[in-house]
Amino acid sequence: MSKGKRVLGLVVALSLVLFALYGVAFATKVIKVGAVYPLTGDIAPTGKLCKEGVELAVDIINGKYDLDLIMARTEGIPSLGGAKIKIIFADSQGSPRTGMAEAERLITSEHVVAMVGGYQSAVVKTASYAAERLKIPYVLSDATSPALTRRGFKYFFRVNPDDVISARNFFEFVQDMEKKFNRKLRRVALLYENTEWGSKVAAQQRKWAKEFGFKIVADIPYYHGATDVTSEVLKLKSSKPDVLMHAPYVSDAILFTKTFKKLNFNVPLWMGMSGYLDPNYIKSVGKDGEYVVVRSTFNPDLARIKPLIGKVNELYKKKYGRDMSGIAARSFNAPLVLADAINRAGSLDPDAIRKVLLETDIPGDKILMAWKGVKFNKIHQNIYARYILVQIQGGKYHTVWPWNVASTKVVFPVPAWNKR
């Protein structure tokens, strides 16, 4: 055997051992909770927002805050001697395989006691599978695919509403609009990025459209990351829709908005979700993003009806220098719900946590969202979760629906491009 061979063999063996040891070395002193987000890859900006929401929630859990929010007025987890929560973040790179591996690593090497987060449904699917297999509670508040809670998992809970609710809310809103403006808006165009999430959204929308008696005039999946979307927009244009429902990630939202303008595609009611809620969106498209109606669970202007929102937003602003986005707010929920459960369980035993999670019944005034509260049904979906709709006006999101929480009047129809 040559010298090079021996040296190389040694180096490789040594580093493998070191890597292996790295996995075993850590022991727990704080309560570690894992979170897998897409921190690199083309949806990393959104992943980062989620991460910020989680970080703020942890600040609130670990510190003492005069907020009418669960876990805010106490420091750490009181029933465990004030133990602090520490979130271990991992990067899913937007890949289900990596998501699963990282979840496993967090659970087995970092010894996290529970998992939160995930953002992309495809990633949550495998990451939660890993957690389920290793019997670790997983509290989700950002991914929205309905399938996630329909697998009969014992340890998987979702705080936020899913796409079934979203799709229904969309059509309820359109119906409300029809009434309000006394105008038929029956021609609906579906536009969605073609991966797990977007295609599931579209499937739900198709279902609800049928239920509510709307006509789908265009059904257009597209490759997220496309260099050009002219043909998609031309198809949309020729279908002459009254309503556009768009499920994009942020990059596609930007590209589509620019192409809409370029090709003068105008739709009376322009509805979107997810990517449209990313602060990068308004920053990138500026004026051109005006009047999009976006699905959200949160908006700072809700502070008007729920002062807590304003206070939390202030904290967020202090920490990150801008308003809390719907994305960050959504991710903010899971750590709180989880911490509350750990506190009530008084134990880090997964089954104990699971048991109290099932008993969860948090009233609406103790959470950030404008919901009736948090309570899980048979499939561990929060039954009180619902959406609000916000509209971009003057470069900011304003709540416009449901009417009773609206802060601003909805602008309808969307004016022509040259009149914006």
């Binding site: 061979k5 790179q93 395989r97 690593r105 697998r151």
Partner: protein, 314 residues
């Protein structure tokens, strides 16, 4: 020398068998399983790219075909993925021939890009084909408990580890056997000079297809293995262009055209990327990708013939 060499291999295999018992940490085992999977993929690529001179950048297509075939057979017909794995391999061979036959006149870069195009087409078709779950992908129903029939193991990663190890060694064994046979000589002849090979009676088209078939088969088997390991497949995860590139990268990095080169490539690059991500990935700063890219770049400048060039004495 021969005897010493055998002993060396035996020791390595024994070490590989003992390794997960000593380091009974799932993440470490996961990395090892990925090493085996990529080792297998890179070794399969080696048959076409390393020996036969056909630089395929579309191996993800075959990987995906394997993953989809076994999963679909299990979900639709309840067929055990073990048979599905073989079936996937056979379907991949058919696909390989379907693309390889018209490509039989293409050389070098043109062939490489044809394979990229092929893999993309498969990806797009699968993304829009509802029978295979379209964009949503497929997740087989989870077996209630560990099951050899369902090829699902939940309580421990050890079965996956040993199956992966076995599959990788099997691939190495078969490739080695093939390369040392007449077929192997012919494949190498193709890789070095097709014109002369033809003049000496080598049926270029046939041996190209043989080469593609071997590679497709094992790539698909790895795909089935992956599907059973992750239990969720969708086009971005099993048909992605990046996967194809990674396979080539690992084989090249280790040293293509040698039996153990691709395995070395997997042994070094896979842990590098996994641990770089584990250590720096949580910051989301891109540092891990940077380090990964930098190591690859610098290494191939100094060792353009791959890791195995350490072993070849001047």
């Amino acid at each position: 020398m021969e005897k010493g060499k055998h002993l060396y291999y035996v020791v390595l295999v024994v070490l590989a068998i003992v390794f997960p018992i000593v380091f009974n940490v799932p993440f470490v085992q996961h990395v090892a399983i990925m090493v085996f999977m990529y080792g297998m993929l890179a070794e399969s690529w080696n048959v076409i790219g390393g020996y036969s001179g056909l630089f395929s950048f579309g191996q993800a297509a075959f990987f995906g075909i394997g993953a989809y075939t076994s999963t679909l057979l299990y979900m639709q017909l309840g067929l055990t993925p073990w048979i599905g794995m073989i079936a996937g391999g056979l379907v991949a061979i058919a696909a390989g021939i379907a693309i390889g036959y018209p490509c039989s006149k293409l050389k070098g870069h043109y062939f490489a890009i044809a394979t990229i195009a092929f893999a993309w087409i498969i990806n797009i078709l699968f993304t829009n084909w509802s029978f295979v779950g379209a964009a949503t992908g497929l997740s087989p129903e989870l077996a209630p408990a560990d099951s050899w029939y369902a090829f699902q193991f939940r309580s421990s990663k050890l079965p996956y580890y040993y199956i992966g190890l076995f599959l990788m060694l099997l691939t190495v064994y078969v490739v080695n056997k093939v390369i040392k046979s007449k077929t192997g000589f012919y494949l190498r002849a193709l890789g070095e000079n097709e014109e002369v090979a033809a003049s000496l009676g080598v049926n270029i088209a046939k041996y190209r297809l043989i080469s593609i078939s071997i590679a497709s088969f094992f790539t698909a088997v790895a795909g089935s293995f992956y599907a059973q390991y992750v239990l969720y497949i969708d086009p971005p995860s099993v048909l992605a262009h990046f996967l194809s590139v990674e396979i080539v990268l690992i084989a090249m990095f280790g040293g293509s055209g040698t039996i153990w080169g691709p395995i070395w490539g997997a042994l070094i690059l896979v842990p590098l990327s996994q641990y770089a991500r584990a250590i720096w990935g949580g910051m989301g700063s891109g540092l891990d990708i940077m380090v990964y890219g930098f190591v690859i770049m610098v290494f191939s400048i100094f060792r353009p013939r791959g890791v195995v060039s350490f072993f070849i004495r001047k």
